[in-house]
């Protein structure tokens, strides 16, 4: 007799693919119309029963950057803090993603350095995961918000980067990912990306998808070890007096693209079905502060070790 095919897990896809874009306004209108469709409080309550969260802190030890042979910044450390909360209600077209995110880089820079002490993003997350066919999943996600150097002035530092991409499910063990990240303020506004997720053996998964490519080894159902990288790039606007204060007036209200690469190894420990603890240590081989429109660029001159701890999960 014919038989039921069994579902195989597709872990770790959630943060791994990028997808086509929505403008912010249409996303908000779309979300509002879906909410209206639900039409009752019970439906509304169900919306908050599924979601995902991240609370993460990374400390990067003393590193160096330089602009040229005469101008450099030595031995400064970095804190990178992230809070992320997104509800993921199931609707007819797929899985809606609505939430908020905060990320703050704090640098221990010497006084007078022409680089900002803080870079901060406070943004909404508005997106949709949907299925194009049996084999293709797509994600569109906009992150409209304020990208600047702190809470002092939130008025005119609005930006709306977005990601769009698709996953082709070749088989339960192999998925191909294609996507694009768009940020009109960034030095390179459109960054395409491609990758694969390949379960090579029962305990081994190659998750070679940006921004966090990894090779994973599942020790048991609760513990996974991994080695990989983390590529970060975002644009921020510094305040109106930043250039005056640092002796380069053209940097007033300038756009800065900040990039860094981390390479390391870590573990994911599933403490409970909704809580996972991740610890990671490694080395940061690349970092760049680029006021690309003002032609002021500080690039890596000395890497630094880092450690990261994160609590995250989905419910």
């Amino acid at each position: 007799m014919t038989r039921v095919e069994v579902v195989e897990r597709m872990k770790n896809l959630a943060h791994r693919f990028f997808l086509p874009a929505f403008c912010v306004a249409s996303s908000i209108l779309f979300a509002a119309s879906i909410l209206a469709e639900e039409g009752n409080l019970e439906g509304l309550r169900d919306w908050f029963l599924s979601g995902e969260y991240v609370a993460e802190e990374t400390y990067v030890g003393g590193g160096d950057v330089r602009r040229n042979s005469r101008k450099s910044v030595r031995d400064f450390d970095e804190h990178d803090s992230i809070l992320h909360f997104v509800i993921t209600p199931r609707i007819k077209p797929g899985v809606l993603r609505l939430g908020a995110e905060w990320e703050r880089f704090s640098f221990g820079l010497p006084d007078g350095t022409p680089l900002p002490d803080n870079l901060q993003a406070v943004n909404l997350v508005i997106g949709l995961d949907t299925q194009l066919s049996d084999s293709i999943l797509i994600r569109v996600e906009a992150q409209p918000g304020v990208y600047n150097t702190g809470f002092d002035d939130l008025s005119d530092d609005f930006n709306a980067p977005f990601v769009a991409g698709g996953t082709y499910i070749f088989s339960p063990n192999l998925q191909l990912v294609l996507g694009v990240s768009v940020d009109i303020e960034r030095k390179y506004p459109v960054i395409p990306a491609a990758g694969i997720r390949w379960k090579m053996a029962p305990q081994w998964v190659l998750n070679a998808v940006l921004p966090t490519p990894r090779l994973e080894f599942e020790m048991n159902s609760g513990l996974t070890l991994y080695a990989g990288g983390n590529l970060k790039q975002n644009s921020y606007r510094v305040d109106d007096q930043f250039g005056d204060n640092t002796g380069i007036p053209r940097l007033n209200h300038a756009v800065l693209t900040y990039s860094e690469v981390r390479t390391g190894a870590g573990f994911d420990w599933k403490i409970s079905p909704v809580v996972t603890l991740t610890g990671e240590v490694g080395y940061q081989p690349y970092r760049e502060f680029d006021f690309y429109r003002a032609h002021v660029r500080y690039h890596q001159d000395g890497g630094a070790p880092y450690g990261m701890i994160s609590l995250h999960g989905a419910f």
């Binding site: 014919t2 039921v4 579902v7 379960k199």
Partner: protein, 353 residues
Amino acid sequence: MKFKTLESSQRLFASASVILLLLLLLARSTSARADAVSELASFSIFNKVDLAQLAKSEVKTAHGSPMSNPRFLAVQSCYVAPGSPAQQIEALRRWDPTRHRELKVFLHSDLPSNPTAASFEKLKNAPDNGPVRLLVAATQKLSPDLQISRDEAKKFSDTGGGGRSGAMPASVAAFWIDVLTARAKSFVSNGTSGQPPYDHSGKAIRASDELNGLLREQEKIRRQFSGLLGATGIGRGAGSLRPELYWELLDVDDQGVVTLGASYSRSGANGTFQAADALYYASGGYYVALTLYQLWPITVESKASTLVWRGDMISAPSLGSLHGVERLGSESVMMKQISKSVTLFRRDTSGSR
């Protein structure tokens, strides 16, 4: 002249009769098609189906209704197959999934109505591969992932003995043969209600509760199949319908799994058929799985055909930890697997009629 008129009248009458008959047949055929499509729309996710288009295409799959229990997942599919519903049921009954490696079924064996240990002898010659070796390792250390009862777990320490003819040591094969025989016998006499729970580690999971839970969350489908299911041992005690029993050794997420299944079918009005196929025991990977079929006779391009609706439902512990896009991805994988399975089935059986 009179003769000619008479002859002509007779011809006219004969022609009219033929036309009337054709019209009647056409009307019946159209009406049967309309009935099938409207009945399909009444309980399934497919509320608009163009039969002519469906007949030319591959299987159509869709997500089932969302279910509140996170470990439940459902996918629905429909397709048109050549031949009558009775022929389709017979083909389903005869189909051997082990012929297709991609379906990852290593062993499939039908069981008699009174299963004995001899019915599971093939297990001693299980193929030597990674999934089977993982099943052996999990059994030897009585892994908490094994889905057995506490009483069954205790029996493993009693079953010593060495030697092996296939990949499975004699003690491991004997243990599973013992578990499968007892559970198959229990199903024959008490349906899924008589199945021991999976309580070897952690909370007790009962096959009957899982099957009833799956159906409870899909009320329209439950109502559509209530007559058939009420006569089976699925989610209840032994029913009045005689099941066709089988067991399999298969690969679930790279882990070898032994499973027990029961299939039922019965004819309905106007040549329709319903069938149910339950995997009521699995040593790991999933708790239970249920496939329901509704088959209607239709005519496509003057050929007898069958409109098939298939509903696949599964309860699996790993699904409980999937959220958002991961769940969407799992559903996609399940839909893809079902499409593949149906395509292979159609390919295998298209030449048999």
